[in-house]
């Protein structure tokens, strides 16, 4: 079996299995935890609205801190939106999702996806430079942060390399691209990348608590 067939076949299949086991394990492990009983009188019963409200509000940077957080917020937005465009806008990726779930939607022209991919790489590199150069960021960073960064940027770089036919024969680079995606899928539930699922749960829980207490958000 050649490398591409191996990557598209058993390795991808196992990576998806690890991804699902890990994600469901962590989500169930958190959601089934016992909640602390709260005996206080609720100031509001609209806790779901409070949850949704905070999810939206925390997505928009606070005006008071805009100047200090502008750079971090901008690169954060660029690479998060960039990743979404590349993953869900490139037709071969949509066809992969279709082969997995049966769902599909219209894709974007390849040229647009390549440009967005390049911007995403630039933003991810800027995020790493910021993490290393900022003393506070450096202090609070651990191996998980750096490894998660590496497994996130790897599929984008290898994808662009495959598109540009750079670094070797196309089937080999494509196989390396698929393998880098497999690594991302297998790692995602177990490191900080799990925030992809937990970010809205965490924000929603906080928002619901704030709503119950009547706190300002």
């Amino acid at each position: 079996m050649d490398l591409l067939t191996l990557a598209r076949g058993p390795i991808l299949q196992w990576a998806l299995v690890i991804f699902v086991v890990g994600t469901v394990w962590r989500l169930a492990g958190i959601l089934l935890l016992r909640r602390k009983p709260d005996y206080t009188e609720p100031r509001s019963t609209h806790t779901w609205r409070g949850a949704a409200n905070l999810i939206v509000k925390r997505t928009v940077p606070k005006r008071e801190f805009a100047a200090q957080t502008a750079f971090g917020n901008t690169i954060g937005y660029v690479f998060h939106i960039g990743l979404a465009v590349v993953v869900f806008g490139f037709v071969p990726h949509i066809l992969f999702i279709k082969s997995l779930t049966g769902l599909s939607w219209p894709g974007l022209p390849s040229g647009i996806v390549y440009v967005v991919g390049a911007l995403t790489v630039a933003a991810l590199v800027a995020a790493l430079v910021r993490r290393i150069s900022n003393p506070v960021m450096r202090l609070i960073s651990n191996a998980d942060d750096y490894f998660s960064w590496a497994v996130t940027i790897a599929p984008v770089i290898t994808g662009l390399m495959a598109a540009a036919h750079w670094g070797g024969p196309y089937p080999t680079i494509l196989a390396i691209h698929v393998l880098s995606v497999c690594l991302l899928l297998a790692w995602l539930p177990f490191g900080k990348l799990m925030h992809a699922f937990l970010v809205f749960i965490a924000r929603g829980t906080t928002g619901a608590l704030f709503a119950r207490k009547g706190a300002s958000t």
């Binding site: 079996m1 050649d2 591409l4 067939t5 598209r8 076949g9 058993p10 991808l12 299949q13 998806l16 299995v17 690890i18 699902v20 086991v21 890990g22 994600t23 469901v24 394990w25 962590r26 989500l27 169930a28 492990g29 958190i30 959601l31 089934l32 935890l33 016992r34 037709v91 071969p92 990726h93 066809l95 992969f96 279709k98 082969s99 997995l100 219209p106 894709g107 974007l108 022209p109 390849s110 040229g111 036919h165 024969p169 196309y170 089937p171 494509l174």
Partner: protein, 361 residues
């Protein structure tokens, strides 16, 4: 003077002029994309050299490669076998049969020992001393090994000879192998394709006769013909870049030349010249006829999953839905167990705290 006629003399003996010979050389040089100086060198060398002996052996194959070779437009098969080479053995094209044919091969081998070119078409079954393919009482395995001993070079024509091909498809019942798996000590050129483009077969033979082994890629294929993917030279490529894809065969998109990627075209991973040289004298090629590329010039193309699944689709073994369902249940059980353990720990801590309280009072 008892000597073999040169290639130019062979042309002239057939009643053809030097101009015809130069036309043949120009066609071959153009096919090989040779610069002008090299084209003149090609004419000079071909004109002066005697026709080399070629022995063409066919094993586990469908004769499609030979069918393809006989449809070469430039250089034509007639020019090749009557004027350029001395085809000493080919069990399909030659008039002799049986023992006479085998005797002719042995005589040609003896006369041109160390100088002839061996062309192999088809894969070779290796187990049981090659018992699955026997011709004239001799196994394919023994034949290829015997003939290769005295060859100056070996050219494996077609994907079966180059990489094992369809006879090697799982479960490979005959234990078929490629020529390169058996012949290790001779210059070897693979001309893959199922079948290969006829002009690539003739062009490679002409190039080898003139300049020796051409520059080869990682699969030992001439780079001049296998240097680009079908996708990169495909006339439908602009539609891939625009994100316009045919959804079914013969829909409006397919007829308007939109990309066939969604219908399983393997052009992006296939190195060959189909999109530029085309077939039948440059008339068309499979993608132009409305069908995606099968990737037939690549190793293991026969066992790479569904021909009609897009290249980016997963090659799932069994049901991916069932696998992921089981994975989700396993994850839920693990997560539930983790939560239960945490709850149990909380209960234990609370009980211990409550038990200690009276003692502390």
């Amino acid at each position: 003077m008892d000597r073999e006629p040169t290639i130019l003399e062979s042309f002239q003996q057939q009643g053809m002029s030097r101009r015809s010979f130069l036309k043949f050389c120009a066609a071959a040089a153009s096919l090989l994309a040779l610069p002008a100086a090299r084209a003149a060198e090609l004419a000079e060398k071909l004109g002066a050299m005697p026709r080399p002996t070629v022995i063409y052996l066919s094993f586990q194959e469908c004769t499609g490669c030979l069918e393809s070779l006989t449809r070469s437009f430039s250089p034509t098969i007639e020019h090749l076998i009557f004027d350029t080479i001395s085809l000493a053995y080919n069990d399909t094209l030659q008039a002799a049969a049986g023992e006479a044919a085998e005797a002719a091969r042995e005589e040609a081998m003896r006369k041109a020992w160390g100088k002839y070119v061996l062309v192999v078409d088809g894969s070779i079954p290796a187990p049981l001393d090659g018992a699955y393919c026997v011709i004239g009482g001799k196994s394919a395995l023994a034949s290829v090994q015997e003939v290769a001993k005295g060859a100056a070079a070996v050219i494996a024509v077609g994907t079966c000879a180059a990489f094992g091909g369809l006879p090697m498809a799982a479960p490979n019942p005959t234990g078929a192998v490629a020529v390169q798996d058996l012949i290790k000590n001779k210059p070897l050129i693979n001309i893959s394709g199922c079948p290969p483009i006829p002009e690539i077969i003739t062009g490679t033979i002409v190039y080898f006769l003139t300049f020796g082994v051409p520059e080869l890629d990682a699969h030992r294929r001439p780079k001049v013909f296998y240097g680009n993917t079908i996708h990169d030279r495909c006339y439908r490529r602009p539609f891939y870049d625009k994100g316009l894809f045919a959804k079914t065969f013969d829909d409006a998109g397919a007829r308007n030349g939109w990309c066939l990627y969604e219908l399983g075209c393997k052009g992006p991973t296939t190195y060959n010249s189909c999109a530029t040289m085309k077939w039948n004298g440059g008339t068309s090629f499979p993608i132009e006829s409305g069908h995606g590329c099968l990737g037939c010039s690549e190793p293991q193309f026969w066992d790479r999953g569904d021909f009609y699944k897009p290249l980016s689709a997963g090659l799932w073994h069994g049901s991916i839905g069932e696998d992921l369902g089981i994975a989700a249940v396993a994850g839920a059980v693990l997560g539930g167990a983790a939560a239960l353990t945490a709850r149990h720990r909380q209960d234990k801590t609370r009980t211990e705290t409550e038990t200690r309280k009276p003692e502390g009072k």
